[in-house]
């Protein structure tokens, strides 16, 4: 008797634009600490020293990203299933740790039009010069909050609260229409007008 995991966008797998995919079930921990060096050594990755950036590294919990969320606030992201050992590991350090793995789900966006799609709803300048790889900002996309990471030349990662994920998916579908990214999938989330 083990309940199966269902991700917030489980029903959207085949409906998302070809350039958008969900990475569900990642281990995520919200960390508040002014002593990040110790936590960094537990994870094997230095915590970001500058606002609005993230760091990546590898250690005893495998590949780990640490996202700057605010002064003394970070989100540690690792592969699925590691939230319990990571939380235990970090609890040894000074600060607070909260397992927030299911609080948000993760979307990976890629492709040459990714900045165009995001620019329809995100007011942050995502030009490579203004937001180079390694950037991590919390901001609004359309009418929902997101954490946005610039992870590659044309690759972005969005973290969105689980309850807003379907809205964001529908919005991304609609914003992608003009760029021909939906393939043969019918347009979802297109404003319905008024039935």
């Amino acid at each position: 008797m083990t309940a199966e995991l269902v991700s917030p966008l489980a029903a959207w797998t085949s409906r998302l634009p070809s350039t958008v995919s969900e990475r569900p079930f990642l281990s995520q921990l919200t960390v508040r600490s002014s002593d990040t060096a110790a936590m960094g050594s537990v994870l094997g990755v230095a915590f970001p020293s500058r606002p609005c950036t993230f760091t990546e590294g590898s250690g005893r919990f495998g590949d780990v990203s640490v996202l700057w969320l605010g002064p003394d606030e970070y989100l540690v992201v690792a592969e699925p299933g590691l939230q319990v050992p990571i939380e235990e590991g970090l609890r040894a350090c000074k600060g607070s740790v909260v397992d927030t793995s299911a609080q948000r789900t993760t979307l990976v966006l890629e492709g040459p039009h990714v900045r165009d799609v995001l620019a329809h709803g995100c007011s942050v300048d995502l030009h490579p010069a203004a937001a180079p790889v390694g950037t991590c900002v919390q901001t609004l996309l359309a009418r929902t909050g997101i954490i946005l990471q610039v992870t590659g030349a044309d690759t972005f990662t969005l973290l969105v609260r689980s309850s807003f994920a379907e809205y964001l998916a529908a919005w991304l579908c609609d914003a992608s229409v003009e760029y021909g990214l939906l393939g043969e999938t019918p347009v979802t989330g297109r404003p319905q007008g008024h039935r």
């Binding site: 008797m1 083990t2 309940a3 199966e4 995991l5 269902v6 991700s7 917030p8 029903a11 569900p24 079930f25 919200t30 508040r32 606030e73 607070s96 909260v98 397992d99 927030t100 793995s101 299911a102 609080q103 948000r104 165009d116 620019a119 329809h120 709803g121 995100c122 007011s123 300048d125 030009h127 203004a130 359309a142 009418r143 929902t144 609260r161 689980s162 309850s163 807003f164 379907e166 809205y167 964001l168 529908a170 919005w171 609609d174 914003a175 229409v177 003009e178 347009v187 989330g189 297109r190 404003p191 319905q192 007008g193 008024h194």
Partner: protein, 938 residues
């Protein structure tokens, strides 16, 4: 009749587009506007005026036109567009308007969107100055955006036949546009009007992306887009509008601005008439006269109001048989509909067209919106930018400069200064073109109006406002232009006074015997040109209007026929009707299951905040009215929060997870507010406290499992948990496995029944819910929604924040003095309880109401009075019904109410006016079911 020239213009003569106007069929070409295509057929009369019903024609060639209002019917009805800005397409149907448009009665199927753009330099207007400014910035490597409202760059050059660097100006324009478009980091937006200029370099621009395609517009492409441009530096090269002169009967179709005639000729290959008289106060109209004459129009006469005509131009005119009369004015016109003659010096000169030029008004709307001060330029007779603004520069004819060579030099200087200010070094000088322009001198006479019949001398042709209206306004004692604008309605129409505003100011100044410089010009307000509501709504419509928040278990609710209630942005199951059930029968069934068997609901929307740190207890003691620091690890306490004014703002449970860790719950609607509230106190008042708050609302799926059989169901799915009353006490929690996954189970109850709140990660929510449904099947487990939850808690007298409270209710009013600590020296709201108003005995207090007739259901929101007959208004009201339900458990209806002195009225009979009747009710304690609390342990 055909008024199309054999050659010339930027229209594509190989295309033939069919359209109808006022029901009559016409043809035109790709590149035409509706106005140019109509003029090509000799149609000048577009609509009629709003007040007098006088015919109205085409005055200008662009978005400043005051008169050519049309209604578009196809592909979708759109009101109040200017024929001069509607690009022609196959199948266009339009009709002229009398000042009022008509909205479609059906929904607009088009898509709209918005896009953010960031740049170093924004250039508004792709005329000669703007092009040079943009190129200067672009060559320095800056991110540049160039917007222009036309479908092609060139600005004023589109309407003239001038040569730049010994080649047609269009070729010069094309080269610059090509370079701009091929430069990385440069965005050229055509058909894009910058309509609003706000703080910090924020400029809004509307791009008309598919309107010109008519029926061929792809449905997938957003029809219009609002560009939200954030720029470091702005160069406004917005040009100038020619203005007319006011004279008697100046409103007949066929009377238009000289520059418009020139634009129709050069850009569209259209002659605006057969025989044109020109009336001017400056040089520029001479070029229109010469151009038209050279194109075969009979131009018998130029009437120049100046004492002397410009010698060189007069000579050129004479060579073409155009008589020039200086020192004269047009004193009137005649014609049925279109103009057929003009009055000059007591004689009538026959014509079908009168071209007028009264000088030029720089387009300063955006500059003014950017809070730039304007200065009256007496030589020009117009307001011009009167100061330097930090990051906003103005160049070209928008400054009042009319000489082309000077305009482009200004453009280069502004572009260079802007790009340097944005942090770049200006690289290389963009070469300035050499112009052969003959007609751009400033030397004009400022003439607002020609004396004559003031009742037919129109200042605002769209609003039918005349000189006599202006004089009546000043005669009524009005001095401020704003008052006169309102008295006469001048400048309030579709064109917002683009051509009429300055003239009105001039006429007012004359009437008052002051200089226009002494007056404060009326304020320019966004938008510069009108913007459809739908474009501003963008993508935030229909399914995307506002986020729908759903829980992990939502798909199950949908699949099982739940009806939903909006709670904030959440969709919550309201009730689960079975076939044939209405709200009441479904809710009675759901309630019965919860009180006699087992039922469960999706409580995942409750706000959940993790509070950690060595000062967490101290912090919560300040926020809650009751004591939280004394709560033992493993235990749970209900808490109430007040604002500083002492009024209840939220409630919920607080569980102590560890010595330095709590998990607090909030009401669904207040989750974000309470987290903000906590952070505000922490960060701004008590930053020394070691406390961190983290929202975990979405992390957890929460399932209250309720009813006498809930223990059996839980036992079946949580084999590791000792669910006995002794081992798992009320108001405690356990971490365990439920359905094989980690879970936190809380023994709390919002119904008074034995109940467990099961929390698992949202990923597991759906599966655990289904497992519970299966495990509960033998007990008849019943899912219930918010309505049943409300009934169950109301039977116990538990208030709902926002339903029993309305920002005027204290914990004491709710009968919750027990939840207000008397030990704590302070907590938020405590001091307010001591105020005079809070000490009154007659405060409204929460009580139960039992209708004397147990079958009568009181309407929620009904008022309560003490007398058994309805007196004349105003009637003294004692309070109102906050909640009212039929109750399965009580076998009758009941209600909760806030009643003045309620706690001391228990047992009294009061009356509730319902329609025309008075329903007698008995006041009771708010706890109506299981007062002794025997059911919570099962």
């Amino acid at each position: 009749m055909n008024f199309r020239t054999p050659t010339g213009g930027t229209i594509d003569r190989n295309t033939l587009l069919h359209f109808t106007f006022n029901g009559e069929g016409f043809t035109g070409h790709s590149g035409d506007t509706l106005a140019s295509a109509l003029l090509a057929h000799g149609v000048h009369e577009i609509g009629s005026s709003v007040k007098f019903g006088r015919p109205r024609g085409i005055v200008a060639a662009g978005s400043e036109d005051p008169t050519s209002l049309v209604q578009i019917e196809t592909p979708f009805p759109e009101p109040m567009l200017l024929a001069t800005t509607v690009e022609l397409y196959e199948g266009l149907e339009a009709r002229g308007l009398a000042g009022q448009g008509r909205l479609a009665s059906i929904s607009d199927p088009a898509r709209y969107d918005a896009k953010h753009e960031h740049c170093d330099v924004l250039v508004v207007g792709a005329g000669p100055a703007g092009l040079v400014a943009a190129l200067t910035a672009a060559r320095s490597g800056a991110r540049v955006v160039l917007v222009d409202e036309q479908n092609q760059a060139g600005g004023a050059l589109l309407g003239v036949d001038e040569y730049l660097d010994d080649r047609p100006s269009a070729s010069w324009v094309a080269d610059i546009v090509a370079e701009l478009k091929s430069t990385p980091g440069v965005l050229v937006l055509e058909r894009t009007t910058a309509f609003g200029m706000y703080q910090d370099g924020f400029v809004l621009a509307l791009q008309k992306r598919t309107d010109h395609l008519g029926f061929a517009a792809p449905a997938s492409v957003a029809r219009q887009r609002v560009w939200r441009i954030r720029t470091k530096q702005t160069v406004l090269t917005t040009g100038a509008h020619e203005r007319p002169v006011v004279f008697p009967d100046n409103d007949r179709p066929g009377i238009m601005l000289a520059s418009a005639a020139r634009t129709f000729l050069h850009r569209y290959g259209v002659l605006v008439g057969s025989r044109a008289v020109v009336f001017t106060t400056n040089d520029s109209a001479y070029c229109a006269a010469i151009n038209l004459a050279e194109s075969g129009v009979d131009v018998p006469l130029i009437v120049d109001a100046r004492p002397e005509a410009p010698a060189r131009l007069a000579t050129e005119c004479a060579a073409r048989g155009i008589e020039v009369r200086a020192g004269q004015v047009v004193t009137g016109t005649e014609g049925e509909g279109r103009v057929t003659g003009v009055h000059v010096a007591g004689a009538t000169v026959a014509c079908d067209t009168l071209l007028v030029s009264g000088g030029w008004n720089p387009v300063v709307s955006l500059f003014s919106q950017a809070r730039g001060k304007l200065r009256y330029d007496a030589e020009l007779g117009a307001f011009v930018p009167g100061e330097e603004l930090g990051s906003v520069r103005v160049a070209g004819s928008a400054t009042g400069e009319l000489d082309l060579a000077s305009c482009v030099r200004q453009g280069r200087e502004a572009g260079s200064a802007a790009v340097v200010a944005a942090g770049f070094s200006s690289r290389g000088q963009v070469p300035l073109p050499v112009s052969d322009s003959r007609c751009t001198s400033r030397s004009g006479l400022v003439l607002w109006r020609v004396p004559g019949d003031e009742d037919t001398s129109f200042v605002d042709l769209q609003r039918d406002a005349t000189v006599s209206d202006v004089l009546r306004a000043t005669g009524a004692g009005l001095r401020s232009l704003e008052h006169i604008k309102r008295y006469t309605t001048i400048g309030t129409a579709h064109d917002q006074g683009k051509t009429s505003g300055m003239i009105a100011a001039g006429i007012v100044a004359e009437a008052l015997g002051v200089e226009p410089a002494d007056q404060r010009p009326t304020t320019f307000r966004p938008p510069y040109t009108s913007v459809s509501f739908a474009a501003l709504a963008g993508r935030d419509r229909g399914a995307l209007h506002d986020p729908v928040r759903v829980t992990a278990i939502h798909p199950w609710h949908v699949a099982h026929g739940a009806l939903f209630e909006n709670v904030g942005q959440w969709k919550r199951p309201w009730y689960y009707p079975q076939p044939g059930e209405d709200l009441h029968t479904a809710v009675l069934r759901e309630c019965r299951a919860a009180r006699s068997g087992v039922a469960m609901m999706d409580g995942s929307t409750l706000g959940k905040i993790d509070v950690q740190g060595s000062d967490a207890g101290k912090f919560l003691d300040m926020l809650y009215t009751n004591m939280m620091s004394t709560l033992k690890v493993g235990r749970i306490r209900y808490g109430v929060m007040c604002g500083v004014d002492g009024m209840v703002i939220d409630d919920g449970t607080v569980i102590r997870v560890g010595e330095e860790r709590y998990l607090v719950t909030t009401t669904t609607g207040n989750a974000a507010k309470i987290l903000d509230w906590m952070e505000e106190w922490l960060q701004t008042e008590w930053p020394h406290l070691d406390v961190h708050c983290t929202s975990v609302t979405d992390h957890w799926a929460t399932i209250p499992l309720v009813g006498p059989k809930s223990r059996d169901v839980l036992a079946a799915v949580a084999p590791d948990l000792d669910v006995s009353n002794e081992a798992f006490e009320f108001m405690t929690w356990r971490d365990t496995q439920v359905a094989g996954v980690p879970a936190r189970v809380c023994r709390i109850s919002f119904s008074g029944e034995l109940a467990y709140e099961i929390n698992v990660t949202a990923w597991h929510g759906l599966a655990v819910w289904e497992t519970l449904m299966a495990a509960g099947a033998p007990f008849g487990i019943t899912p219930y929604g918010t309505e049943t939850m409300h009934v169950l808690r109301a039977e116990k007298g538990y208030p709902i924040i926002g339903q029993e409270t309305d920002a005027t209710v204290t914990p004491h009013d709710l009968g919750m003095s027990w939840a207000v600590s008397k030990k704590k020296p302070d907590f938020i709201g405590k001091r307010s309880f001591a105020r005079a108003e809070n000490q009154r005995a007659d405060r409204k207090q929460l009580v139960g109401l039992l209708p004397v007739d147990p079958s009568v259901l009181l309407p929620e929101g009904a008022q309560i009075i003490s007398s058994d007959h309805l007196p004349e208004p105003p009637v003294r009201m004692l309070g109102h019904v906050t909640s009212s339900y039929p109750s399965a458990a009580l076998g009758r209806t009941f209600a909760l109410a806030l009643v003045r002195s309620g706690h001391s009225r228990i047992g009294e009979t009061l009356y509730v006016p319902v329609s025309d009747a008075l329903v007698p009710v008995t006041v009771t304690d708010s706890v109506l079911y299981d007062k002794e609390g025997t059911r919570r342990d099962g």
